[in-house]
Amino acid sequence: MSMQSLDIQRRSATTTPSPDARQTLEVAKLIDVSKCIGCKACQSACMEWNDLRDEVGSNAGIYDNPRDLSDQSWTVMRFSEVEVQQGKLEWLIRKDGCMHCADPGCLKACPSPGAIVQYSNGIVDFHEENCIGCGYCITGCPFNVPRISQKDNKAYKCTLCSDRVAVGQEPACVKTCPTGAIVFGSKEDMIDHAQERIADLKERGYDNAGLYDPQGVGGTHVMYVLQHADQPELYHGLPKDPHISPMVGLWKGIAKPLMSFGLGLVALAGFFHYIKVGPKEVPEDEETES
């Protein structure tokens, strides 16, 4: 999705400066899990707005459907039945999808110049025309979000509706959410709103209610209000303290010198050829040799 080009703060595998003539406000989407009723209107809005249609699947004995993120499903609801307190059942329903990390592991891991960009508003966007389908973004992502399409071998994920946001609209899922469980605005406002929600939850007996804005990835532009912020894993395995895998740092260490020394394009192309058709997990020795 290359709708925006004037306000990019970083690009994958690129050392030249990014175009940043325009500065945009840092935005965030706040998902209040305590308000979400799991209606999947957001899933359907995402399909509608982005013109995506996943396959009609099957039921695996759970409510979750489609069962996982895919090139056609950029967000899915994850349903978890838990008993945090003995005898008090809770049905925690979390909208899963890209977190739009301030420090995006996908972008850092991506070897293809400009396939992943981050705008100055914080949105991390995939520019599929530059994607080589290597799948490094998946390895780099601490939230297991990007998916490679079987059809075109490109990586896809939630764009935070960068096309809508660029023209001053809220993301499609936000607009659709009937309960107001998803809200969108400046990151600052979203944090303020979250604090109000957390106060309400504490008053209702959720002593550990809190905001999920993990600092291990520099904070995120998709945040959650959680009833049990002390145990994010309850929410279908939301990582407690996500970090970019050390593997990514390793690759970066090599890529940078490659770029800056301006080694022959032939060498670069050869490398990319390998990773495009090669295994998604890059063997360590391969990396050191390149």
């Binding site: 009723i37 209606c39 039921n59 004995g61 309400d200």
Partner: protein
């Protein structure tokens, strides 16, 4: 709804029971979220399953499907024994003080007047004692043991927490916790709303469950209050409009009723409905019935309806009995019908005992389907393997399919649950040969009329004389119909006090039903819609969302019946002296000369506070009924009766009377009921957010979101039956079986009922053998044919099944 969707935000406590608003009404549910976020409201959910609504509730209590009256009766008992009622309200605005006839009795589960052969009651004894003037006798001191309050107290004293827990399976402490929470709303400034839907209506005692909820709300003083009321969440976007326009077999538009076969005299017909006040000084608004009725007949038959011919009263069908859908399919099954028109209706999927419905359709000569989609009913004759195992060669029914538009392809109004008529505009042209329903019906009508004209026929008069002044006779516009429902003057209407003054000129649209006359000078197609299209134009199309009071009564947004009133009975939000029970919820007020406010007052505009006239102006007694007098089929006080298929084979309240003694059961259907010995589990059917009835399985996105048929069971039952999540299972009732994927969940738990462990099998309804989702079984293969004794709404929420892994 007595109130409306937006008003839910004014509640302090929201009880969702007999419904699952988050699941089935996600958009309206936003007002629950709003009440929680802005007012710190608490949400309590009581349901056999821990639902999507429960997932955001402050408190959840389980209940056995079909035992709601026991639960609510227990709450009533709790309120009465703990003195947690709004005394002043109950005394002033209900029939609590009225004395009931001496010969009224309730013994061993039966009320006085039962006729076993007819399975119905003679309701004469279910009445107040009247004085010589015909007024109900009242005992304001509540000393008389036969006053409604004391009878009610006695009736519900039997519903102790132990008895309730034993019947409902709700653990005693959880039941009491719900009671305590509800009891807080007896304070005049604390208000509870009740949101319910088919989870209450689809029982053989459905209407009585709703009444029990209403009684509860009256005891708490919550009817007429902003944030209170009894709020039925209607399932289809225009099902409210359907009932308003009288599309039930015994109704006329605006909740008027068709005459019975013995009611051949016009005046007697009117007198019986134009009820005289039962207490001094009451409005008894139905006294205006003749005006509504005559205006309807003028709208229908125009000049042909005259005083001399009783405004064509003789042309109205006279009912021998109620011809509801269950009755119609019974008749069809007995071969008594030749043809059937099925408009926007999929009975093979929507009505109980699919085998019976399919068999009945096969006996027709012809079946006409008017629908935008390929419904299962339209292809009932096709073999779809196990899903519809019929032999087409043996079915001779000729099926005509007339493709119609869907709502987005037509102009018109929809009436929402809150009684708002909202105008909408066509968003797209219909595909192919599809035509609007108006056009299809009008096309048929004009053809039939020609035939009657040419050939005469047995009784051509009503057809030949039906008013049909539409610009394009075979395609009346929505605007034309809407104007007709609103009504117009047929002659100059003059002021009663000053005959020289013309109020409405002949031909002009009426401003409201207050202008209707019973002399034939007004025409009105649906009196409660009068005011929706006045000389000021289409009121339903108004889109001003300003809300000066902040209570959400946006009087300039669309139009609500009656007379744009948003909260019914709002006079009851003030005490008799006119002081609001809660100043923060002030809806209306007296300005010294008339009533006014941020809602349209539900009262006679010029009757001052302190007058004996009471707020429930539609009732001849002027107050709300805790004792339903003769209005309900099975008794004036709701009583717990077991579903016709009960898992416990008895009724712990009275083992001699197990199920609703006044429910109609056809021969053959009784035999088709299953017994707990063979079918030990309680099944309940319901809807999922991802789908709308049997429609959205035709839409790709919905099919993606919930692709395949499943059922839900608790972990304990799953373990006992060796069923794991994702396994294919067979669910069997005495009428048939379905196969589906098992969802095994903590959200359904086994309940202890009458010393027995009762398991629940949840059966979502949305699949069938047409559409884009994976083909599945119509769940009404399983359900029993018995309806609520008053409305004949089928008992889809509680029946018996067995389950096994396949």
């Amino acid at each position: 709804m007595t109130n409306h969707w937006v008003d839910i935000k004014n509640a302090d406590l929201i009880l969702i029971m007999g419904g699952n608003a988050a699941e089935a009404h996600p958009c309206g549910f936003k007002w629950v979220t709003e009440a929680k976020a802005q007012r710190k409201a608490r949400l309590v959910v009581v349901d056999p399953r821990f639902t999507r609504s429960a997932s955001v509730a402050d408190y959840y209590a389980p209940i056995r499907a079909g035992s709601d009256i026991a639960f609510l009766g227990g709450v009533i008992n709790y309120l009465l024994t703990h003195d947690k009622i709004q005394h002043e309200y109950v005394k002033a605005y209900t029939d609590a003080t009225f004395v009931v006839r001496e010969d009224y009795t309730f013994e061993n589960g039966m009320f006085s007047g039962y006729n076993e052969a007819k399975r119905s009651y003679d309701k004469a004894t279910w009445m107040y004692e009247l004085d010589k003037d015909g007024y109900a006798i009242s005992d304001p001191a509540l000393q008389n043991p036969r006053c409604v309050f004391n009878l009610m107290k006695r009736h519900y004293a039997r519903y102790t927490p132990e008895v309730v827990s034993n019947i409902t399976g709700t653990p005693r402490d959880q039941f009491l916790k719900v009671c305590e929470t509800i009891a807080t709303c007896s304070a005049p400034n604390k208000v509870m709303t009740i949101m319910y839907a088919l989870g209450w209506t689809q029982h053989s005692v459905g209407s009585q469950i709703i009444r029990t909820g209403a009684m509860l709300q009256l005891l708490l003083g919550n009817i007429g209050m902003a944030g209170g009321g009894m709020n039925a969440l209607r399932g289809h976007s225009n099902i409210q409009g359907l009932t308003d326009l009288g599309l039930l077999s015994n109704l006329l538009p605006g909740y008027m009723t068709l005459p019975g076969e013995k009611e051949t005299d016009f005046q007697t017909y009117l007198d019986k409905r134009a009820l005289k006040p039962l207490r001094p000084g009451q409005m008894s608004y139905w006294q205006n019935y003749p005006k509504f009725h005559v205006s309807l007949m003028k709208a229908w038959f125009g000049d042909a309806a005259t005083r001399e011919n009783n405004f064509c009263f003789d042309w109205l069908p006279k009912l021998d009995k109620v011809h509801d859908v269950l009755q119609v399919f019974e008749d069809m099954n007995q071969g008594k019908m030749n043809g059937y028109f099925c408009q926007g209706f999929n009975p093979l999927a929507s009505f109980p005992n699919k085998a019976k419905v399919g068999g009945a359709l096969a006996k027709l000569k012809y079946l006409v389907i008017i629908d935008p989609l390929v419904t299962e009913t339209s292809t009932f004759w096709e073999n779809h393997g196990e899903f519809n195992d019929v032999d087409p060669a043996k079915i001779q029914t000729e099926v005509f399919r007339l493709p119609s538009t869907c709502f987005a392809e037509e102009d018109g109004s929809l009436v929402n649950s809150g009684r708002w008529l909202q105008w909408h505009y066509k968003g797209a042209e219909p595909p192919g040969e599809a035509r609007g329903d108006n056009e299809i019906m009008a096309g048929l009508f004009t053809k039939l009329k020609e035939l009657y004209k040419k050939e005469g026929g047995a009784f051509p008069d009503p057809i030949l004389n039906l008013t049909w002044g539409y610009k394009i006779p075979h395609a009346p516009a929505a605007e034309e119909l809407a104007r007709e429902f609103n009504g117009k003057a047929l002659a100059d209407l003059t002021d009663a006090k000053d005959p020289a003054k013309v109020l409405v000129k002949a031909g002009e649209q009426l401003a409201s039903f207050a202008q209707l006359r019973d002399d034939g000078s007004t025409a009105c197609g649906c009196w409660i819609f009068s005011g929706s299209w006045t000389d000021k134009g289409n009121q339903m199309a108004r889109r001003d969302s300003s809300d000066p009071s902040g209570l959400g009564n946006t009087l300039n947004w669309a139009w609500a019946w009656p007379v744009n009133r948003r909260v019914l009975y709002n006079r009851a939000s003030l005490d008799p002296a006119g002081k609001p029970w809660d100043p923060q919820r002030k809806l209306i007020g007296w300005d010294g000369a008339k009533w006014g406010g941020t809602d349209v007052p539900d009262f006679k505009p010029d009757v001052p506070p302190g007058d004996p006239m009471n707020p429930f102006i539609m009732n001849p007694e002027g107050v709300a009924r805790l004792f339903a007098i003769d209005k309900m089929a099975e008794g004036p006080f709701p009583e717990h009766y077991e579903p016709f298929e009960t898992p416990i084979d008895t009724n712990p309240m009275h083992p001699g009377v197990i199920s609703n003694p006044a429910a109609r059961v056809f021969k053959g259907d009784m035999e088709a009921f299953g017994k707990a010995k063979e079918f030990p589990y309680v099944a309940t059917t319901y809807r999922l957010t991802e789908h709308f009835h049997y429609w959205t399985k035709h839409a790709r996105i919905n099919a993606v979101l919930q692709p395949e048929q499943f059922i839900e069971i608790g972990e304990e039952l799953a373990q006992a039956k060796g069923i794991k999540a994702g396994d294919k299972v067979k669910v069997r009732s005495n009428r048939g079986y379905i196969k589906a994927v098992a969802v095994v969940t903590k959200r359904i738990r086994a309940l202890e009922v009458a010393g027995k462990k009762v398991h629940t099998v949840g059966v979502p309804i949305h699949w069938g053998f047409q559409g884009l989702a994976k083909n599945g079984f119509l769940t009404n293969t399983l359900t029993p044919v018995v309806g609520d004794a008053n409305t004949q709404t089928p008992e889809f929420k509680a029946f018996l099944v067995d389950i096994e892994k396949v």
